[in-house]
Amino acid sequence: MMSKKVELMVGFFVALGIAALLMLSLKVANSGLSGGGDSYNLFAKFDNIGGLKVRSPIKVGGVVVGRVSDISLDEEDYTPVVTMKIYSEYNQFSEATSVAILTAGLLGEQYIGLQPGFMDESLDILQPDDFIEDTKPALVLEELIGQFLFSQGSGDE
């Protein structure tokens, strides 16, 4: 009663629909696969985080080694604390590592740049949940312009 062609075409249609859903979720949203690996947390306190967002990338020399997983204010001194989720294959950062909030291009997204410090016998390796002490805050364009104008004004006199 049911023709084979109908069944075949319906099967093709449903398979195409599911393939489209899969492609959208894997290729377009890139969900699941990359975030699924093991990771550990590091913390850093900044004076100013600028436009940093949760899920912003963390890069070492341009290579993504993790993502920002949380941004909150320290409960005592009200400075921003950034929780950095680092992929656990990169677990050999020394205590001399410094972090800075950088901008991709002049007006691009902000990301965290890790600068791995030198290794020394007197220095330990950063453990999960450690704080990184050496931080540089985000450059805020308005503040820079303000400083520039201020220095111009004082130079004239």
């Binding site: 009663m1 075409m9 249609f13 449903v14 629909g17 599911i18 489209a20 859903l21 890139n30």
Partner: protein, 258 residues
Amino acid sequence: MWPLQLLGRNTLALISGLGRAVIVLLSALLHKPNPRKGIPLLLQQLYSVGVMSLIIIIVSGGFIGMVLALQGYTILVGYGAEASLGPMVALSLLRELGPVVSALLFAGRAGSALTAEIGLMKATEQLSSLEMMAVDPLRRVIAPRFWAGFISLPLLAAIFSMVGILGAHLVGVDWLGVDAGTFWSVMQDQVDFNKDILNGIIKSVVFAFVVTWIAIYKGYDCEPTSEGISRATTSTVVQSSLLVLALDFILTALMFAR
């Protein structure tokens, strides 16, 4: 007195129509499922509702993606932001155009056909003769059509978005020269599974429910004359299009507004 009476009559008609629509839907769907009989019927309807809508969905998805890429590029390049072409196209397709445009096309292509088919069955008294043979027409005719539409439209919307993104890739990358790596990686960076893709799917499921419901109700409830069928078909397309657009605003406000 007269306008007041007209208002009252229209209100009563609207409310009793809504009631009949709910009764049709519930009595078609609230049955013990019978897979042996139901699945062949559903397959037949999936073919005529879903597969037959594939061409129009794929062609219009491709062209809409291409137009989006072309328009977006000419605007974005003025700000030197043509790297954002990928997320712009993907987000507009996934959040809005995919679910909405495919629901509108679906209402025109499949909804009108459903209404006309059921209406003609009613006019030629096929539904009554089914009842005479102790076959429930709601269960045998209406239910498979409803489920077919309900399953098809989300799949069609996903295909629409995918083809649209591929069309945008064709225009943006192969023709206008946006870097392919930038196109995909910035898109992957900006598109979130829960926020964008899942919400788009929820939208298309809601639209599928509404469009198919209106189509089967209008067909089942139509006046059994040739004029009545034509009126029912028209009002299926008009009402489901308007309702899809209005619901889209509400859903967007719920999902994406802060």
